[in-house]
């Protein structure tokens, strides 16, 4: 049998072994709690494992290391025959490496509020892309954010976070599909050979990402010296809201910040994907692959750091960087107002804000826009639209529109002034998780 069906973990453990079960419980207990049926695929050909195998494991004398992996599918309903599985009961899958340690290879799991302990009265937002899976002749599709875990031989946390981010970028926005082979081949050598990987520096990571066609900008913060933690969090917020998950590097480790939850009172918790759980353990005592971290806890941790780096993905044809947006809008918007900054495709802004901003169909917007919303006591009171394709110092040329209490002035289009009379609405690039 290629596929075996299980309803309890004891029976599953007999099939996958104690080590895999231990790893499964450590990293995915939040999903095991909502799973009713497991389907084990005994001989799965996994692309990333084949790369790791070809780079190193095929040359070793480890016994029991094969080119095949085990893949475990999770469903939140009970059934005995895959043909009877409801499509929307599919939660995704987890792949195990056939190695002595670091057995979790990757996971593609549908975000579910229960799994992240997000309450029914709270909101949860994440950037997602589509994954389609086949179990025999049955096809299942989910929207998810991909998870990959280092093997500590070919890859470390730096590769893992780059892989997750690039696979998402490739599927959701644009860019080349990331391969571990390219990551290894394109690593600027510092210590002789690149395998086994000891570490990567942020500069090496950016060099690799640039070589495979991604535009990533590195910024740094020095919380102990410059007291710039809030600035750091603003930058994280900007790229999270833009659905461009930032690589957050501090304390020798890197994680991805991929979304957030929001309580009714406005309390924010970041959704963090952590390949080794090194930071999640320190922040909230969790060994899970991903979980929510209260913003005040992350802030306190960052405040203790000498250095914090953020790697931000930028779009092609986007030349006006966040630092220019900050310089300009600090002088435009009253200091007392809170700013929410988002980089977005103009087509999405047109769709979501057509009525609120009185956008006329024949406005020829640039492909990418910076949207800056201004809030007074959590009430959206106005904002700015900037052209993201202008020269990095062309502040005046970047102005597309300003709006203020239902009056919108479009600077690029004959200084058109539109009285919309419409209610202002916040924009989002993220998907709200409702299940």
């Amino acid at each position: 049998m290629l596929f075996k069906v299980f309803h309890d973990l004891e029976a599953l453990e007999k099939e996958i072994g104690a080590s895999n079960m231990e790893n499964l419980k450590q990293r995915f207990s939040n999903y095991l709690g909502i799973t009713r049926t497991y389907i084990l695929e005994e001989k799965y050909i996994d692309k990333e494992w084949r790369e790791e195998y070809s780079i190193v494991y095929s040359f070793t004398s480890y016994e029991d290391i094969t080119p095949l992996t085990k893949r475990l599918h999770l469903f939140n309903e009970k059934f005995d025959d895959i043909k009877k599985a409801k499509k929307d009961s599919y939660l995704g899958y987890i792949v195990f490496r056939p190695v002595p340690s670091n057995r979790i290879l990757k996971a593609i799991l549908k975000p579910v509020k229960d799994a992240f302990k997000v309450g029914k009265d709270e909101q949860m937002f994440m950037p997602l892309c589509k994954f389609t899976t086949h179990i025999g002749s049955e096809e299942f599709s989910i929207d998810a954010f991909p998870f990959y875990c280092q093997d500590s031989m070919v890859t470390v946390c730096a590769h893992a976070s780059m892989f997750m981010a690039c696979l998402y970028m490739f599927k959701r926005h644009w860019g080349n599909r990331p391969t571990l082979k390219d990551f290894v081949k394109l690593t600027p050598t510092m210590f002789g050979r690149n395998t086994p990987s000891e570490a990567l520096t942020p500069a090496q990571m950016l060099s690799i990402l640039a070589s495979i066609g991604y535009n990533v900008r590195l910024t740094s913060f020095k919380p102990l010296e410059r007291k710039d933690t809030l600035e750091c969090l603003t930058e994280i917020d900007t790229f999270v809201e833009s659905a461009l998950p930032p690589l957050l590097m501090y304390g020798d480790h890197v994680v991805l910040v991929v979304g957030h939850s929001l309580s009714r009172e406005g309390k924010k918790e970041y959704i963090i994907f952590d390949d080794s759980s090194y930071h999640l353990q320190k922040l909230i005592g969790s060994t899970l692959f991903a979980f929510k971290v209260p913003s005040d806890i992350l802030q306190k941790e960052l405040e203790k750091q000498e250095w914090v780096f953020i790697g931000n993905f930028e779009f092609d044809r986007q030349y006006f960087p966040l630092k220019s947006v900050k310089i300009l809008t600090d002088e435009l918007i009253q200091t007392s107002l809170r700013k929410r900054i988002i980089l977005a495709e103009s087509k999405d802004i047109k769709v979501q804000l057509r009525e609120a901003l009185g956008i006329i169909e024949d406005f020829n917007f640039p492909h990418y826009l910076w949207l800056i919303e201004a809030y007074e006591k959590n009430i959206l009171v106005g904002g700015v639209l900037l052209d993201a394709s202008v020269h990095k110092y062309d502040y005046k040329g970047s102005l597309v529109a300003l709006w203020n209490n239902q009056n919108v002035k479009f600077y690029k289009y004959n200084d058109t002034l539109i009285k919309t009379g419409a209610t202002l609405v916040p924009f989002t690039n993220l998907r709200e998780i409702t299940n």
Binding site: T201, A203, T219, L328, L380, Y393, L399, T423
Partner: protein, 57 residues
């Protein structure tokens, strides 16, 4: 957010009169240049430290 709430919100969101915005931006050029130079210093530090900071856990 209701229309009433929006009207209650501050009407002075911007530091400049929006009809004279371009002139206002022109008047801020020297300030912008100062901020750009500060940013350049930070970028240099980012690259220097970014070449030697190990990410490996």
């Amino acid at each position: 957010l209701s229309k009433k709430e929006q009207k209650q919100a501050s009407s002075s969101i911007f530091k400049a009169d929006i009809s004279k915005l371009k002139e206002y931006i022109d008047s801020k050029q020297s300030l912008f240049e100062k901020r750009i130079e500060e940013q350049r210093q930070k970028d240099r530090q980012t690259m220097e430290k970014g070449m030697v900071y190990w990410i490996n856990t």
